[in-house]
Symmetry: C2
Subunit: 294 residues, 2 copies
DNA sequence: GGTGACAATAGGTTTTATCTATACGAAGGA
DNA sequence: TCCTTCGTATAGATAAAACCTATTGTCACC
């Protein structure tokens, strides 16, 4: 048996045809046909039912192909291990973050990452939390910045920092002159929220315990910047994480006042999450250094 | 990369030498050396530090070899899948059972198994429960008859039958004329038990709640038959599962009376346990049929 | 300095994978 | 029914690779 042969099997399953599989593997159709036939003979079972019409995979075939996929994946892992050993801080690295964090965090970390790991081809992915978790699991991204808690057997997690919430109100809002705010003050109808799927929306709802009261609102913003503009326009108030406030946390900006909460200050805890089986853990270590030194 | 090359790696790790590995793989030493060298070159990393004294595996080497083992295991699985597809009821099958069950159950199932699966090379393994579980996990046996509950993610389990306990006493024992017995009657010092590690010992202790009282006993039998002989000799009484009583459950035998317990009658539940990843599940199905029709 | 153990190298042979060209078989259209 | 098309199988030649034996190189030990 040969690794190449197993790749042929996967290609046939994928393309549904010997000729197309051959093309995909950059070999001639007779070569691929011959190798598959030899494999079938050596195993003593038929993997494909051939006809000029279509290729049907036998029951054993499906099982064999499932195992073949695992073999190929592990072989690729060997390649990746070798690559990482040559230079653990080089190659492609895909880092994800959810939108209400990514917008404000990513700009500040590109430079330091580039300085610290010049050979790393960094790919930044901005998606909602669930999508990031899915992509982490399927290996489409290598690590993600997520709001904790994230509970999953196959992940490793490093707590990075707390991001406290403030209440963003227009400077002439009735709450604007308060120096601190209690959570009960949020029981108002003019609280603006993001659309479904944003973790910040869920956190805000949890903080405000407004589940029922808010269902009737028919406006759902798609970004925090939209919310900010609406606060500025006097449409309502919103929760704003400090990371989204810009540099001057204690001064008003753009006619908006960011009022801190009374203790216990509501917050979101940001952590770095990656698969236990990830190979380039050296990159993770560097990322943690950069993200905790902020 | 080639599956054969990965086997070379494992052989070198195993034998600690290129020449011995070559011998183990039935190739010449230069062949193996050459292939390993080529593999190292294609991966761009050194897997072994060579010297005339000893072979040292590099850090990447260890990782690569760990992956190589997974690849080989999965490749062997492909072979096994094919074999099972040709004839699912043929080949070697290793069935385990713990001693106090095996002695009485095994003799009765060899014939039916042989009749029903004539091409199956059945290997019967009699070991204590913990050893059977270890061997199941490591693939040294294919299935085991165990006293439930057995809780493990990687196992599948089929409940087979209940095996009720009776109290075995000498016919002239003071309890011998009772037709039924309560569990409190067991608070006696002459209860004989098996040595540590037998699940029957633990079950007996649990039933009697005699943990403390029994620690001082310095006699621990190694088999149920020894216990039976001692009961017959008048040394004491013991718990005996019905399966060990022979065919005549309601008559005395050998000067021993087997007294049933009052409800709820204490029992052990016997189940068939196998790895979820086992390939020859057709054999499992047949075994279940045979073992539940008893 | 000689010896033994072990890995690396050299050169030739065998095996295997691959190619192009062609045959075969089924389905669809004239 | 015949012809074309699409797809797989077969044949024969070529290129690549894995393998062998013989030999060299290297290090430790006596």
């Amino acid at each position: 048996m040969n690794i190449r042969d197993l790749k042929y099997l996967l290609a046939i399953k994928e393309t549904g045809s010997f000729s197309r599989a051959a093309k995909q593997c950059y070999v001639s159709q007779p070569t691929l046909s011959g190798q598959v036939k030899k494999l079938e003979e050596s195993l003593g079972v038929r993997i494909f039912e051939r006809s000029s019409k279509q290729i049907i995979i036998t029951a054993v075939g499906e099982q064999i192909i499932a195992s073949a996929m695992k073999v190929i994946a592990e072989v690729e892992r060997i390649d990746a291990l070798a690559d990482a050993a040559i230079d653990p801080l080089s190659g492609r690295f895909r880092l994800g973050a959810f939108p209400t964090l990514a917008t404000y965090l990513f700009p500040g970390i590109v430079m330091p990452i580039n300085t610290c790991m010049p050979d790393l081809k960094l790919i930044l992915v901005e998606e909602k939390t669930q999508s990031l978790i899915d992509k982490l699991k399927s290996g489409q991204i290598d690590a993600a910045l997520l709001a904790l808690p994230v509970v999953d057997e196959q992940f490793k997690i490093k707590v990075l920092f707390d991001d406290y919430f403030r209440l963003a109100v227009k400077t002439d809002h009735k709450l604007a002159n308060k120096s601190e705010i209690g959570q009960t003050s949020l029981l108002s109808k003019d609280l603006l929220l993001l659309e479904e799927g944003h973790c910040l929306r869920d956190q805000a709802l949890e903080i405000c315990s407004l589940m029922g009261a808010n269902e009737e609102q028919d406006f759902r913003a798609t970004s925090l910047e939209t919310l900010r503009l609406m606060v500025k326009a006097g449409t309502g108030i919103t929760l704003m994480p400090e990371i989204a406030m810009g540099l001057n946390k204690d001064r008003d900006e753009d006619g908006i006042r960011y009022i801190p909460f009374k203790e216990p200050r509501p917050k979101r805890t940001i952590g770095l999450v990656w698969r236990k089986t990830l190979i380039k853990t050296a990159v993770i270590d560097e990322l943690i250094k950069i993200l905790t030194h902020k």
